[in-house]
């Protein structure tokens, strides 16, 4: 008797998904033996619009709309690539403020991912708890930039808003609160019995496979692959503010959560260091000229490596803007992980990747 398989679809509309992506799992008794994915639901055509519709100085705000969660990394990568082509140096204070926002964004994004993973594992109370505490970070972001999600904070030549003393004080207060909460999460994630049944040993990726599939971001760091672009670029002074690589060896959902939690702690430390040692100076330098030539810029988004390739020919319209997003590069690894797992775990595994499909499809 041949085994009968059932096809379980997940998406494109599903309660456990924020985004339209369709997975079709071929299951034997809830055990996944095949995965078919369709990631093109969010394709809008931003790469083309960047070269036909918008001038180069506006694109920084357009590419922020590629993704609401890593908006800041998108506009930062693009802006830095353009600054490279224009050939100007921006002030140190602006650089520090950019790191500050980058790390705040990472904190709130990681918290969202953790809470979403908990919700998909059926732990509603933990979801509510982390989401409630995440508001502390959102509050600072609103104070610092003026908006909760799509902060158009970075412009070519610097940043748009200065940091005043009161805001800095509020940021330090809130971050201290967040820090205490993060320690309590670490406790919960390590000690809760039902979470360990749901997370430990589930959705594991080996180090060998991580190398083979070119995994990036927390997904790779959870397997022990030390890849973090913050370690590989010299444009922003990450080592000055106290960046430390966080890795784990298990490669399962629990390891990914732990990497994220430790990264939040590291980011909190970096934010504190920045606020303590913020240099004096202008926040904006005017850069003149039109971009000519090609530049490639990489940054570490909350989900992994983000790459921008920009090519201009000296006019206001660019020739090519290539966006390589973190989730896009990880999709082969995702499909590999799903094999052999149970369907009951699929939503939690998916959430633990922290996928960003609107990044993927652009």
């Amino acid at each position: 008797m041949s085994k009968k398989t059932i096809h379980i679809p997940l998406g494109s509309q599903h309660i456990s998904l924020l985004e339209p992506v369709r997975f079709k799992f071929e299951c034997e008794n809830e055990k996944i033996v095949g995965v078919d994915s369709d990631v093109g639901f969010v394709h809008r055509g931003i790469e083309r619009a960047c070269t036909t519709k918008f001038k180069f100085d506006a694109i920084g705000y357009v590419v922020a709309r590629v993704c609401g969660l890593c908006a800041i990394t998108h506009s930062l990568s693009y802006t830095v690539a353009i600054e490279k082509l224009l050939g100007g140096e921006i002030s140190k204070k602006a650089k520090y403020l950019r790191i500050l926002l980058l790390e705040l964004d990472r904190i709130h994004s990681h918290m969202l991912c953790l809470s979403h993973t908990c919700e998909n594992a059926g732990f509603e109370a933990m979801f509510m708890r982390i989401m409630g505490d995440r508001e502390l970070v959102m509050e600072i972001q609103e104070l610092l930039t003026g908006n909760r999600i799509q902060f158009d904070y970075i412009s070519i030549g610097g940043v748009n808003r200065d940091l005043d003393v009161q805001t800095a004080k509020k940021i330090i207060e809130n971050l201290a609160l967040v820090k205490a909460k993060v320690f309590s999460y670490i406790d919960e994630f390590t000690n809760n019995w039902s979470l360990s049944l749901k997370f430990k040993g589930i959705g594991a990726l080996t180090l060998e496979d991580a190398y083979r599939f070119n995994a990036i971001g927390p997904l790779a760091r959870a397997c022990g692959l030390p890849i973090d672009v913050r370690n590989e670029i010299e444009y922003l002074p990450f080592d000055e503010v106290g960046f430390k690589m966080q890795t784990h060896n298990d490669g399962d959902i629990n390891a990914r959560n732990m990497v994220r939690l430790n990264e939040i702690l590291n980011s909190l430390e970096m934010c504190e260091n920045i606020l303590r040692g913020l240099p004096e100076g202008e926040i904006f330098t005017k850069l003149k000229g039109k971009p000519k030539g090609e530049a490639l810029m990489r940054f570490e988004a909350p989900r992994g490596e983000l790459m921008y390739y920009v090519k201009g020919d000296g006019s206001a319209m660019l020739n090519r803007v290539r966006i390589k997003t973190p989730t896009f590069a990880c999709i082969p690894a995702f499909s590999h992980i799903f094999m052999g797992e149970e369907y009951a775990d699929a939503p939690a595994i998916l959430a633990s990747f922290d996928p960003c499909l609107s990044c993927t499809a652009k």
């Binding site: 059932i6 933990m126 019995w193 979470l195």
Partner: protein, 274 residues
């Protein structure tokens, strides 16, 4: 007369319990939560909605599930035979499982599958509980059990086993894999809509009444102990619901059959020696 009134109002009592539970859960999660009468607002709204019928059997089986469950509750209030009640309750579960299989939806099938597995897990223990009561009081009749004094002390292990069933029966975490909102969007109830979903929705309230009526049987004729048991277990179940994630069906069956069945059999063995 009072029994007839109780039977008529049983869904309302269940609804109040469900509403209170939602408020309690929200407070535990540091939220304000919906109003207490929210389940009834939902009920009235569902009466007003347009309904889709997937196929007549599906709908009829859903209604049958509700009616059987109400009959179960009625028999319990009248004080009928406990064994009959448990089997009748199994019938109502079978109706909803058949309803789940009668539509062409994968989530519904998976949900029905899990429902069936969980029925396999808890049904033996319910029967053992009934046997335990029989050994204590010499009768399966609920009216007899109610007249005798509290049997929680000799049946303490059975009581613990029954406690494990409550989250499974009420679909609360960690044993809510049969409903699993984030995986299979409610499982068997996914294809019901409008006024037909109402039957499933109210059946959920009746399930509350059924489970807690079974629970207070452990208190016998002691009304104070019954109230304490009810309130304590209600709080405990919600606390556990708020402190755990959903575990997989595999683990559910291992835990329920492994721990609860052992506890129950131990208790029975002890009783037969005494």
């Amino acid at each position: 007369m009072i029994e007839v009134m109780l039977i008529l109002f049983a869904p309302l009592i269940g609804g109040l319990m469900y509403g209170f539970e939602r408020v309690l859960r929200a407070r535990m999660q540091n939220r304000k939560g919906p109003p207490l009468l929210q389940p009834f607002y939902d009920m009235y709204k569902l009466l007003d909605k347009q309904a889709f019928i997937i196929n007549p059997y599906h709908t009829v089986l859903g209604i049958m599930h509700f009616l059987t469950l109400w009959t179960v509750v009625a028999f319990m209030i009248f004080g009928q035979n406990l064994l009959y009640i448990i089997f009748l309750h199994l019938l109502s579960v079978i109706f909803i499982i058949l309803a789940g299989f009668s539509v062409n939806s994968v989530y519904s099938h998976v949900g029905a599958n899990r429902e069936l597995l969980s029925a396999l897990a808890y049904e033996p223990i319910l029967i053992i509980v009934a046997v335990g009561f029989f050994m204590m009081h010499g009768s399966f009749d609920i009216s007899v059990i109610r007249q005798n004094s509290a049997s929680i002390v000799p049946l303490f292990l059975l009581f613990l086993a029954f406690l494990l069933l409550i989250p499974l029966k009420l679909k609360k975490s960690p044993f809510d894999a049969a409903e699993a909102h984030q995986e299979i969007v409610g499982g068997v109830e996914i294809e019901f809509s409008g006024v037909y979903f109402e039957f499933i929705y109210i059946a959920k309230w009746l399930e509350y009444v059924f489970v807690y009526l079974l629970l207070v049987l452990f208190a016998g004729n002691n009304a104070v102990l019954g109230t304490v048991l009810f309130l304590g277990v209600f709080l405990l179940v919600n606390l556990v619901d708020n402190a755990t994630a959903r575990i997989k069906m595999k683990h559910v069956i291992q835990i329920v059959l492994g721990i609860a069945l052992t506890l129950g059999l131990l208790n029975l063995a002890g009783l037969s020696y005494v």
